[in-house]
Amino acid sequence: MNVVLLAIEGDRGAMTDLLVNGYPRLMAFYQGIGLPHHEAEDLAAETAEALVTGISRLRAAQAFEAWFWSVARNRLRTLFRRRSATKPVEAMISPASPEEVSIEREEHGRIRAAMSQLPPKDRQLLWLREVEGLDYDDLATRLGSSPGAVRVACHRARRRLEEVYLAAER
C-alpha cells in the first residue's frame, strides 16, 4: 500500500517516512527563498506539525505533493503576516546584503545573490516549479489562479532570475 495512503489512515511509521523525506526539502525551500537558517528551522518544524494534523483530511494520495507545498507556503504566509505589523513584506526576506553580493566566489553565492533580488513571490514560484517540479495545474490550484496565469508568472520569474544572474557576471 502506498505510503501516503497509510499515513492518511493514521499509520505513524508512514507519516514518519513522509516527514523524513519532506523535512530536508522544506529546509531547502525556506532557505532557498531567503530565510535565515534558524527561521527556516522553526518554519519547517511548524509545517511538519501542520502536515501531521492535516494529513487525515487529504482524500487522494496523488494530491499529496501539491498539498504538501500548499501547507509549506501557507506557513510561510502566516510568518509574513505575523511580522507584517512591524515590517513591510518585501523586507521580510533578506534582500541581497553586501556580504551576499561579495561572496560570488562561494559555490552557490551567485545564484543566492540573484534569487535575493527577486520579489518573494517569484522566488517561491521558481522554487516550486523549477526545483520541486510542480506542474502549472497544481501551482494554479495552490495559488488560486489559472494555469495560464501561473505559466506566464513562472516564465516571467524565470526571465527575471536569468537577467539578474547574467548581470552578476559582468
Binding site: 530536508p24 531547502a28 494534523t53 487522494a60 498539498w67 513591510p88 559555490e107 543566492r112 495552490r142 532570475l161
Partner: protein, 259 residues
C-alpha cells in the same frame, strides 16, 4: 537577449543550490524533526463526515416552502435577496445547483479585473448564509467579509493595491474551499476552510491597511482588531492554522472523487 544555454544556467544553478541545501540536513536531523512533529500533534485517523449533512438537513427543515417561493424572485437590494441566496446555497450544498460557483467565479473575475471592492461585495452577498453551516467554530463569515470590505474601501490610491488584489484572490479561493467542503459534507474541512477565509480576510485588511500612512504601528498587529480571534495563529491554535492547505487538499480530493 539571452540565449537558450544561458537561460538554463541560472535554473541549473538553482537546482544545484537546492540539492546542496537538502544535503545539509542529515537523516538523523530529519528523523528527529519528524518525531517532534508527531509528538506535538497527535496523528489522527480520518473522521466521519456527517455533521454538515445534519446541519443542512436541520436548516432545510426550518426553511419554509412559502418563504422559498417568495424569495425566489428577489433581486439584489431586496430584503429577501439574502434569503434567496441562502436557499440557493442550501440547494447547492445538496448537490443540485451551481449558483455559489457562479457567484464565486463572478467575484473572481472582478478580483482579476482589479476591482477588489466589488469582488468582496459580491462574495459577501454570496456567503452570508454560510455561518449557519459552521456548527462548531461559530465564525461570523459576514463579519469577516465586512471587515475585509471596509479595509479595501479604506485602501489608499497607490501603494499596496497589488498586494490587496493578491489577498482578495486568495479570499475568493478560500471561499471555493468552503463550497467544496460543504458540498462534500466534510465538517472538519469546512471548518478549516472557513478559518482559512478568516485568515485571508485578515490579510486583506493588513494589506489594505499597509497603504495608509501612519497606521502601521504596533497597535496594528494582525488579528488585534478581529473580535474573538487569537493574535497568534499557528502557535496557540493547533488544528486550524493549516486550514488553507487542508481545504485545498479537500478541494482537490473532492474534484477527484466527483465526476
Amino acid at each position: 537577449m539571452t540565449g537558450p544555454d544561458r537561460d538554463s544556467e541560472a535554473v541549473e544553478q538553482l537546482r544545484r543550490y537546492a540539492n546542496h541545501l537538502r544535503s545539509q540536513v542529515d537523516g538523523q536531523a530529519a528523523l528527529a524533526a519528524a518525531r517532534r512533529a508527531l509528538a506535538a500533534r497527535p496523528h489522527r485517523a480520518p473522521r466521519r463526515r456527517w455533521a454538515v449533512g445534519l446541519a443542512v438537513a436541520g436548516l432545510m427543515a426550518v426553511s419554509s416552502v412559502g418563504l422559498a417561493t417568495v424569495a425566489d424572485d428577489a433581486v439584489p437590494g431586496d430584503l429577501l435577496y439574502p434569503i434567496d441566496r441562502g436557499l440557493e446555497w442550501l440547494g447547492d450544498v445538496l448537490g443540485n445547483a451551481d449558483h455559489i460557483d457562479e457567484r464565486i467565479s463572478e467575484s473572481e473575475a472582478l478580483a482579476h479585473r482589479g476591482d477588489t471592492a466589488a469582488a468582496l461585495e459580491h462574495l459577501s452577498s454570496s456567503v452570508g448564509t454560510l455561518d449557519a453551516l459552521d456548527p462548531a467554530s461559530g465564525v461570523d463569515l459576514s463579519a469577516v467579509l465586512d471587515q475585509a470590505r471596509s479595509a479595501v474601501a479604506a485602501t489608499g490610491p497607490a501603494g499596496n493595491q497589488a498586494q490587496v488584489e493578491d489577498e482578495v484572490d486568495d479570499l475568493v479561493e478560500a471561499t471555493k474551499g468552503v463550497a467544496e467542503a460543504a458540498r462534500a459534507g466534510d465538517e472538519e474541512a469546512l471548518r478549516a476552510a472557513i478559518e482559512a477565509m478568516r485568515d485571508f480576510a485578515e490579510r486583506v485588511k493588513d494589506a489594505a491597511r499597509a497603504d495608509l500612512p501612519g497606521q502601521s504601528g504596533p497597535e496594528d498587529t494582525p488579528g488585534a482588531t478581529a473580535p474573538g480571534r487569537d493574535n497568534n495563529p499557528g502557535v496557540t491554535a493547533p488544528g486550524r492554522d493549516n486550514g488553507r492547505g487542508s481545504s485545498e487538499a479537500d478541494n482537490q480530493g473532492t474534484g477527484n472523487n466527483q465526476p
